[in-house]
């Protein structure tokens, strides 16, 4: 319910109660609460009107309105309404009214008034509330205790402590809570001694349960000021287990370094779980003062807290921790290994990079590998020069780690060196590792900068003095790039005198993601005398054509697939083309695949392509699709394919009756109006249809729900509405049922008459709103309005007979001119 509705109710009330004279208007301007007071004082006003007046007085009421509100405090139905206004009024009169009512009420009404006095912090109410602690009504006594806790002060504490020690109906938990609050109040006022007295009663008293003791201890630590770390440490050393647990938790909450020092000093004095907890918390606090202590623990191989210490070192340690962390990262224990690796990724105090690089000089290969991995994970580009050196000279294991790191770290300035490593590699394995690193680095740099200086690669390929293997490796890297220089050098290399280079260039073209190679690939597939190249070229061509990044529409894809199909001579290549065809959701692609069904050598692949295309077209079932599927069914005995065909038929059957041909208009909205208000606001599609720019509504955007009209995807927006329109042609008057579902609200017109309204916010449920209608002979206009609160914005509509059976013979045409 909106505030303006409350206001409207009140104003409606006023209409019958107030004069509309100019004089009255002037009174309203000077005394904003006057109209509401008149409502409260009117014997004719209803409970509803008085409640609305109280709501308005919460905001606008002056001290003058207090008596009228006070008169309602004892009213069983309106006491809450009156408190709603009085509880937050800043005037002493409001408190006085509540105090007076407290003494004259009982039961829940009295409970509410006590609560309001407590929330006001009304110290003058303490005697009255204290008296209620002995009330026989548990709810009243408890409410009084709670209120006293909120108000606080010595008098309230005395009353509460008396009740705590003696008989009372107030629940002990609330009594204890109130004493805790009072103690906190003393703390806030700087009366620490008084606070400690209260807390001590609760900590030491056997009556308090574990929870209250713990809470009181927490507060008494706050009262200790600078001595808090000492108090916490003492509790951990000497307290019982409940206070120890509370103290351990507090070691996380006190953030200054004195707490860290106290914790470090405490470490050797406690044992077991407490010691482990302390170590864990030292890391959590991220105070570098804990670094030396955790480092010492991390160095002790069998220390029980080693794992926690290693975890924490990343946050509190410095470069001096690198050696132990790298060593631990190579530990056989998986948990320790992970903790150390994680720590190395965040360690940042001191010269960490230099320390990691120093680890590369140790003879331990496992340690070297961990240091390299850490440098890579830290995105530590300062390490690249040394990694390049090591990649050239190290044993294989270290070299492999270096190349992996270089793939992640090398920037554009390092590419020539990396290309040089590819060229100068002395073994095939090294060259392959260098090639992978170069390729990954190139792609990363290109993605970041949107351009790449490919000179090192182009020169490396073009330079005939380089080994054929090196040139071939660089050509493979070239396949990852889309660049005119790379394209040119690759085409040249495809005619190279050296067979290994030629082959590498052709393979690079065939594997390239550069669509400019399409004509070359088509020519290769058509003209090459080598069947392997023809197959590779066909595969590369189809891959580029069907690549989503190529952004080709279905028609263009199909045209290019026809071209390659025309030159595909062997069944192997034709199968590849069929694979591409299957990814084109278009009836023409289906027809082409049906033609290929006649070729026995590729019949199975054609059948699979047909089923795949039909599945993507299931949202708009057509006779041709059904016929194609039946043809495949007749030709195949493959149980899996038959199963798939059945699934597509089922999907198509499920689509029967759904109306998927629509036009859309919107979104429409108005400032300050939410979806519920917009439901009843008439926008142009309702009022002046000639002005509306109707557009075609896309369907089939969700393959799992092809009948869905996804307005969010198409229009986006919140707190708005959209309209959908279509036309239905019936030969004769036809009773029908339209089963709507919508997210959110829905209003439906058939031939200009509202036939359904549902102003709501909800997720879409198919068929949630069935609407029985009668179609008139000829064209019928169906208009729907869908509101949008937030998140999903969808709808669907299915046309069936009133009994739910299929309704055949109705033509649907969204674009028909009205």
């Amino acid at each position: 319910m909106k505030p303006w509705f409350v206001l409207a109710v009140a104003l409606t009330a006023l209409a019958g109660l107030l004069s509309t004279s100019l004089e009255a208007a002037e009174v309203r301007a000077e005394q904003p609460d006057q109209p509401w007071l008149q409502v409260l004082q009117s014997p004719e006003a209803t409970l509803q009107q008085k409640d609305a007046a109280c709501s308005a007085l919460k905001r606008e009421g002056t001290a003058r309105s207090v008596p009228a509100l006070a008169a309602l405090l004892r009213h069983p139905d309106l006491s809450h309404s009156a408190r709603h206004a009085l509880e937050t009024m800043p005037f002493p009169e409001a408190a006085e009214a509540l105090r007076a009512a407290l003494a004259r009420t009982t039961g829940l009404v009295q409970v509410g008034i006590a609560d309001s006095l407590g929330k006001r912090g009304d110290k003058a109410a303490v005697p009255g509330l204290a008296g209620l602690l002995a009330n026989g009504d548990t709810q009243v006594a408890t409410a009084a205790a709670a209120a006293l806790g909120r108000i606080g002060g010595p008098e309230a504490v005395r009353a509460l402590q008396q009740a705590w020690a003696g008989p009372t109906q107030a629940t002990p938990a609330v009594l204890a809570d109130s004493l805790l609050r009072c103690g906190h109040g003393f703390l806030a006022d700087g009366e620490n001694a008084a606070a400690v007295d209260v807390f001590r009663t609760l900590v030491d008293g056997p009556e308090a349960g574990d929870l209250v003791r713990q809470a009181a201890f927490r507060r008494s630590v706050s009262a200790a000021g600078d001595l808090a770390p000492t108090v916490i440490a003492a509790a951990m050393r000497e307290g019982d287990e409940v206070l120890q647990a509370a103290a351990l938790q507090l070691t996380q909450e006190f953030r200054d370094s004195r707490m860290t020092d106290a914790m470090v000093a405490l470490l050797p004095q406690v044992s077991g779980a407490l010691q482990l907890g302390l170590i864990d918390n030292l890391g959590w606090r991220r105070d570098p003062a804990a670094g030396p202590a955790l480092l010492a623990l991390a160095r002790q191989t069998n220390a029980p807290g080693r794992l926690a210490a290693v975890r924490g070192l990343g946050w509190v340690g410095d470069a001096s921790a690198v050696a132990v962390l790298v060593e631990t990262a190579a530990d056989p224990d998986a948990e320790l290994r992970k903790a150390a690796r994680d720590a190395l990724l965040v360690l940042h105090r001191g010269p960490v990079t230099q320390s990691l690089l120093a680890q590369l000089e140790t003879g331990n290969k496992a340690v070297q590998a961990e240091a390299i991995q850490a440098l890579a994970g830290r995105a530590d580009t300062a390490a690249v020069p040394r990694l390049l050196e090591l990649a050239r000279s190290s044993p294989e294991a270290t070299q492999t780690a270096c190349f992996r790191a270089l793939a992640l770290l090398a920037g554009e300035p390092h590419l020539p060196s990396l290309a040089r490593l590819v060229i100068e590699a002395d073994t095939a394995a090294t060259r392959e590792a260098a090639q992978d690193a170069l390729g990954t680095a190139c792609q990363r740099v290109e993605a970041r900068q949107h351009h790449l200086d490919v000179t090192p690669i182009v020169q490396g390929i073009a330079e005939h003095t380089h080994s054929p293997e090196a040139r071939a490796a660089l050509l493979a890297v070239g396949a990852l790039l889309v660049d005119p220089q790379v394209r040119a050098v690759t085409l040249t290399a495809a005619r190279d005198g050296e067979a290994r280079v030629r082959e590498a260039a052709i393979r690079s073209m065939c594997e390239s993601r550069d669509p400019a190679f399409l004509p070359s690939l088509l020519a290769l597939a058509r003209d090459s005398s080598d069947v392997a190249y023809r197959a590779l070229a066909t595969r590369g061509y189809v891959r580029l054509v069907t690549d989503e990044n190529a952004s080709l529409d279905a028609k263009s894809r199909l045209a290019r697939l026809r071209e390659i199909l025309a030159v595909a001579q062997r069944p192997e290549e034709q199968r590849v083309v069929l694979g591409g065809l299957a990814a084109v959701p278009d009836p023409t692609a289906l027809a082409l695949a049906v033609q290929l069904l006649e070729e026995p050598a590729i019949q199975a692949e054609a059948g699979r392509a047909i089923v795949q295309i039909a599945a993507s077209l299931a949202g708009t079932p057509q006779p041709a699709t059904e016929a194609a599927l039946r043809k495949v069914w007749a030709l195949t005995a493959d149980p899996r394919l038959r199963q798939d065909i059945e699934a597509v038929f089922k999907q198509m059957h499920g689509m029967r009756g759904f109306l998927t041909d629509w036009q859309v208009a919107g979104p429409y909205g108005q400032d300050g109006k939410d979806y519920t208000a917009l439901f009843d606001i008439a926008f142009p599609p309702e009022t002046n249809r000639d002005e509306v720019a109707w557009k075609s509504m896309p369907t089939g955007t969700d393959p799992q729900r092809p009948w869905l009209l996804d307005l969010l995807k198409h229009l986006s927006g919140e707190q708005c509405v959209a309209y959908l329109r279509t036309h239905l042609y019936s030969e004769e008057a036809e009773p029908a049922r339209i089963e709507f579902g919508s997210d959110d609200g829905l209003k439906v017109w058939l031939n200009g008459q509202v036939v359904h309204t549902h102003n709501t916010a909800r997720p879409l449920t198919v068929g949630s709103d069935p609407v029985n209608v009668t179609l008139k002979p000829g064209w019928n206009t169906l208009l729907i309005k869908v509101t949008q609160n937030n998140l999903g914005w969808e709808c669907c509509a299915r046309l069936v007979r009133p009994d739910g059976s299929p309704l055949e013979g109705v033509r649907v045409e969204a674009g028909k001119t009205e």
Binding site: H80, A143, A215, A273, L276
Partner: protein, 432 residues
């Protein structure tokens, strides 16, 4: 009243110091397939098992927790509670069925169905409660749960008034409870929100100047109280549904957000990330105003926050935020993280960069913190300030005039009209 096993869990259960696990479930439940022994599981009670609570409990289309808490091996659900009989009974049956199947013991029953949440709070063997009730109940239940010694997961909005929100923080702090708000964007969605905030904190967009919160503030308002009444069905406890809300005649609406105004439901997701990105988790606005008719505010740092989308930016509606700095902008929502210029979001965070609290699983973070007694990623302090940003924006929407706010004293200085809107009177006997 309090759960002794919770205290002991920290000092015993977690670190294996040999404190025996209480036998609150049969030892025969020590089950097959590596099921974690009951003594090491966190025991939960679910309060409200409708769409949201049911999703947390058992998983569902929307949830970020596959299979729900029930499917987690480190959890034992001991109670489910709802004012609707069918909901609680069905939820209870499904939980018990799951455990029976998992343990291979057909008659295994550990979960209890309750109508009144106080039955759950009274159980000494329940470590934590998950509150997914209608919004007007959240803060009151959270306060009562803290007073009962329970750790708390609470759905958003975590409170419907600023004073209630403060009451939750005070109670949680008073009793040392673990609290997590249902603002899971800090943990989930592949860390997109975390990365966005870390990039902002580390100056990748230069000096932060503006934040677009995509949604306005929110507040609560009670409806007409004395309308026509329908008979209350036997399968719903209408009085408990209303709780601290004013008494209303039954009208069939037991929705979770029927009293919401503005963006009370979703807004806290957005403002939580606004607060995180602005490094304002311990503070709040200093002035509130209207910007192009929408709620807006400014922090003491000068950063302005607008309750509207960044003009022309498609990313952001799904729980998102757009941070605008002197050298670029970063927009994030559950689906996308984008920047202008685009490379800003591709630059990695480095070890020396400033980091935020890191958690990759919201439920995992909650359970880990219940065990270790560390604050959660969205603890009561964070939730209080995020909720306050939303609720204060709701107040400026109501008053339609500029306001000054003191985030330390948490009041509108010398503005009694605005201060009156910081709280609402609750229906007895409920109090937050």
């Amino acid at each position: 009243m309090t759960s002794r096993r919770q205290f002991l869990r920290r000092t015993g259960g977690l670190f294996g110091a040999g404190v025996a696990a209480p036998l609150f479930v049969p030892t025969s439940a020590l089950g097959r397939g590596g099921f974690v022994p009951p003594g090491e599981r966190v025991t939960l009670g679910f309060i409200g098992v409708g769409g949201q609570g049911g999703g947390h409990l058992l998983g569902g289309a929307w949830t970020y927790l596959a299979g729900g808490y029930t499917a987690r091996r480190d959890v034992q659900v001991l109670a489910v509670c709802d004012v609707w009989r069918e909901r609680r009974d069905q939820a209870c049956q499904r939980v018990n069925r799951h455990y029976a199947d998992t343990l291979g013991q057909d008659n295994y029953r550990s979960c209890q169905a309750c109508t009144d949440f106080r039955q759950v709070l009274d159980r000494d063997d329940v470590d934590a409660v998950l509150i997914a009730t209608p919004a007007h109940w959240h803060a009151t239940m959270a306060v009562m749960a803290a007073q009962a010694g329970k750790d708390i997961y609470c759905e958003k909005p975590t409170a419907v008034t600023v004073r209630e929100s403060r009451a939750v923080l005070d109670a949680v702090h008073r009793y040392g409870r673990i609290y997590q708000a249902g603002t899971q964007q800090r943990s989930e969605y592949g860390g997109k929100f975390r990365l966005a905030c870390e990039l902002v904190h580390n100056g990748r967009i230069g000096r932060l100047q503006e934040i677009y919160a995509y949604r306005e503030g929110g507040s609560i308002a009670w409806p007409t109280r004395f309308g026509p009444s329908q008979p209350v069905p036997g399968n719903v406890d209408w009085d408990l549904y209303l709780g601290p809300a004013p008494w209303l005649p039954y009208d069939g609406n037991t929705g979770a957000h029927r009293f919401d105004v503005g963006e009370l439901n979703w807004g806290q997701h957005h403002y939580d990330i606004v607060q995180w990105g602005a490094q304002a988790d311990t503070t709040g606005p200093v002035e509130l105003f209207l910007h192009e008719g929408k709620s807006a505010y400014r922090y003491a740092s000068g950063v302005a926050v607008y309750g509207m989308p960044y003009p022309g930016e498609r990313v952001g509606m799904d729980g998102g935020v757009c941070f605008v700095g002197s050298e670029g902008r970063i927009t994030v929502d559950r689906g996308d993280l984008v920047s202008d210029p685009p490379h800003l979001v591709r630059e990695p965070i480095r070890p020396e960069d400033q980091r935020v609290y890191h958690a990759d699983s919201h439920s995992g973070n909650f359970l880990e913190c219940v065990r270790t007694r560390k604050p959660t990623i969205c603890d009561a302090k964070v939730a209080h300030r995020s909720a306050s940003a939303l609720l204060l924006s709701g107040i400026v929407r109501v008053l339609r005039r500029p306001l000054k706010w003191d985030p330390e004293r948490e009041c509108f200085p010398d503005d009694e009209e605005a201060n009156r809107l910081l709280s609402i009177a609750q229906r007895p006997p409920w109090r937050a």
